[in-house]
Amino acid sequence: MVQKEEQVSPFLVFFLIHAIQVGVGILGFQRIVIKSGGNDSWIAVIAAAIIVSAVIFILYTLLNRHQMDIIQIQKKLFGKYIGSLFGLIWIMNWILLTVTVLSSFVEIVEVWVFSTINIYVFAFIFILLTYYCLTGGFRVVAGICVLGTIIPMYLYLTFLFPLEHTHLRNLLPIWNHSIKEMGLATRDMSLSYLGFSSLLMYYPYIKNAKSSQKWAHFGNILTCLIYLFLMVITIGYFSEKQLSHHIWATLSLWKIVELPFVERFEYIGITSWVLMILPNICLLVWAAAEGIGKVVNIKQKKVLLIILLIVYILTIFMSGRERIDMMNNVSAKLGLFLLFVYIPVLSAYSFVWNKLKEKKK
């Protein structure tokens, strides 16, 4: 199957999971969650993390049972044609997520930094970066996930500056929202955790994949802590109504940072975020390309070029707040459905299927 040299250590799953969960979403997730969760949104952050951890658990039981990637599992369970069809849905999901990430970032750059930027060229440069990364194989993708996590870590320290203007009493009173509201908030929050479904594709690329489960959970916990940290600061820093006007609350937080040698940290934040979203794009495109490679037998490089072309065209097409919002919605719904509905069902089905097979024997 996968060559031993191409496999990576199990603990890298920590970075693979974390890097893909933290993307553009983190720059503006607060507004959407607070809409229904209010000052209790931080609970939604934790709740979503717990649910995601449960899904990761389900993913691992499924993958451990079959020791192959999702496309192969579906082919095995549903036969060649239906299985491949379901595989295509996953691939579509990943491509959509990529486009969401890329076009959201392009939008941020347009709004915050260069209003007249030529997005054709700008998106193209990202596509080139991705191509250069992906032709290096899965090891390079994993590498960029590690570096894309470690290098921008310093950014989290800068969120300590807004603390000066933070009213932490805003967190009180704890739990004054209804279960329904919290449910909605949790759903909205879990969107920010999406993307880890790529685990379904890179599972066979991990040495002793079974032992990597704990790292996946740790990665998820780190994401949760970072979101929690940001959410608490945001709740304290903004008043609720004020926040509803800020599309990118995280970037607005940075506006207050003033250091002796640099002011207006949001520009540095956006710049550093290039390194944060690159792992996202690379890993998702990699998963899609790998998936197509498993469905139909085409050369990996050609698949890659085709996918990048699709991503490029969609990104160009999806510009402007409304279209990006629409796309966010579609990809979020698809992602939520696949992970939180389809995967548990599939897992149950595979369990029964396996049991039946054992009985036959």
């Binding site: 990576v8 250590s9 603990f11 890298l12 970075f15 750059v109 930094v113 260069f114 930027i117 700008f122 440069i125 990202f126 970066l129 250069y132 990364c133 290096g136 090891r139 390079v140 994993a142 590498g143 960029i144 590690v146 570096l147 470690i150 003033e258 250091l259 002796p260 040698f261 640099v262 002011e263 207006r264 520009y267 540095i268 956006i270 710049t271 550093s272 290039v274 390194l275 690159l278």
Partner: protein
């Protein structure tokens, strides 16, 4: 050239029976420094052939001629000559090669077709001198010279163990350069040295003038600006990395040896780091890493901020920057490029000219051009400081080749910073990271221990921990024996 030689070989084989002194020496006597002389003693006449430019006259006169006058036959001569490595041969090519390596060939027409080869190579080589490129205040003051023998001698002296293996190969159809691959059996990974040997054997080139040829020829990615072998002139460094399970390559005629597999972090560690207290050494290393980042990023950041992101400048610094730029008609990118190029010119001129003139050029050029361009209003004085500091920072890299690379990769950064501002800098940085991730040295990851993340190897990467914690060999080299010394025993002794 190669063809004709091959032809000679076949013809020589054909006429093996008819070999005379003529067939052996004929080709060679075309050059005037090939001498033939006939010594006749009471019994026989010996014919002696040698290159006078390659042999030591002293040996020839005192040892060889002296004994030739006494001998009756070749057999007797071999017994008389005080040399340990005497060869008797009748193979024409072997004889010719030996002559070209500085041997003296003795033949006597009576005693069949035997040719006696005596090594009388004149050793014209530099004395072992203190290292110039990797100078260190503390520590040994020896450096490699252009002689293969001496270089290996310097290493063996430091590792007197039988496990130190030297594998010799000859590279270059014209230069016939001796290349030695050194490793310690039982420590170094077989794969590593076999890869090196394989790559050297596969070479198809006419000349190797220096070890840097070899770096470029056998490294994993030949199009990368980053060297993937460290070159060093310090025997102590070679001895240390051999002990870590790496492979060293010595090239005859080159005063630098190569080390592989290596990581990018090793390029920024001076060997002096090991001679200093670990805190001091770690501090210096961190300074060096900071210098590299500073050198690559600072001018692009200046250009990006001044061209697009004025918001980033703190309010108290605005006036300084604006005043320094008001009279300047050029956009920041041109201003920066002019200065960067000026610095490159100074460096290049300094490198090409003789040392003393070079120094003068550096100082005069630096001061005169710098001040004049500021006064003429071509560049701002703030940028002048920045560029000069960046240049200074790029010279702190201990390995010269890497220093050059760093000077080069600033330019793409600079251009991108002009095109897309800070985001351009970030994108270039991503390209650089991906490139480094893709690089490998002898098939081992180049960015280790950052990726693959090996916390254990961080002991000697960004910082250097005390020797007590350096008890294991780096994982990157995939050594066969991973333990350098037993840590607990070492502790015990201390107590």
């Amino acid at each position: 050239m190669f063809r004709t030689r091959k032809k000679d070989k076949t013809s020589a084989e054909n006429k093996k029976a008819a070999e005379t002194i003529q067939t052996v020496f004929n080709d060679l006597s075309a050059s005037d420094d090939f001498k033939q002389s006939f010594v006749t003693n009471r019994h026989v006449t010996f014919c002696i052939g040698f290159y006078e430019t390659l042999t030591e006259a002293d040996i020839l006169h005192k040892d060889i001629l002296h004994n030739v006058q006494k001998a009756v036959s070749i057999e007797e001569l071999t017994a008389l000559l005080p040399f340990e490595d005497l060869k008797i041969s009748e193979d024409v090519t072997l004889i010719q090669d030996a002559l070209l390596q500085g041997s003296v060939c003795i033949h006597n027409s009576i005693s069949n077709k035997q040719f006696c080869l005596v090594k009388a190579k004149s050793a014209k080589e530099r004395q072992v001198a203190p290292p110039e490129v990797e100078f260190s205040v503390v520590g040994p003051k020896e450096s490699f010279v252009e002689s293969y023998q001496t270089n290996i001698h310097l290493i063996r002296k430091r590792l007197p163990i039988s496990n130190l293996v030297v594998k010799e190969r000859t590279v270059g159809r014209l230069s016939k350069t001796k290349v030695g691959v050194l490793y310690i059996e039982g420590i170094a990974n077989k794969e590593n040295y076999n890869t090196v040997l394989q790559r050297i054997e596969d070479l198809n080139i006419d000349q190797i003038a220096d070890s840097s040829y070899l770096t470029q020829l056998i490294q994993d990615n030949q199009h990368s600006p980053f060297p993937q072998f460290i070159d060093t002139e310090r025997p102590d460094r070679i001895a240390a990395v051999l002990g870590e399970g790496k492979v060293a390559i010595i090239v005859d005629g080159a005063p630098h040896a190569l080390i592989g597999p290596t990581t990018i972090f090793e390029f920024f560690s001076a060997f002096e780091d090991y001679y200093l207290n670990w805190l001091v050494a770690s501090f210096f290393r961190l300074v060096r890493f900071f210098a590299v980042l500073f050198s690559i990023l600072v001018t692009p950041l200046y250009v990006a901020v001044l061209t697009y992101h004025y918001e980033l400048i703190p309010k108290d610094m605005v006036s300084t920057l604006v005043t320094s730029r008001t009279a300047i008609p050029l956009p920041p990118i041109l201003e920066a490029l002019i200065l960067e190029l000026a610095i490159e010119l100074l460096r290049e001129a300094g490198a090409r000219l003789p040392t003393k003139v070079g120094q003068t050029i550096g100082i005069v050029g630096g001061i005169v051009i710098g001040t004049a361009s500021v006064e003429a209003g071509l560049t701002s004085n703030v940028l002048l400081i920045i560029v000069a500091l960046a240049a200074l920072a790029s010279f702190t890299t201990p390995v010269y080749q890497m220093g050059n690379t760093i000077r080069l990769i600033r330019f793409p950064f600079l251009l991108m910073s002009h095109y897309i501002g800070l985001i351009g800098v970030a994108i270039s940085f991503c390209f650089l990271l991906i490139h480094l991730l893709r690089l490998s040295s002898l098939g081992r990851p180049f960015l280790e221990p950052l990726f693959p993340l090996r916390v254990f190897d961080l002991k000697d990467a960004l910082i250097r921990l005390p020797f007590k914690y350096q008890s294991k060999r780096p994982i990157q080299a995939q050594t066969e024996d991973t333990v350098k010394f037993n840590q607990s025993e070492a502790k015990h002794k201390n107590e």
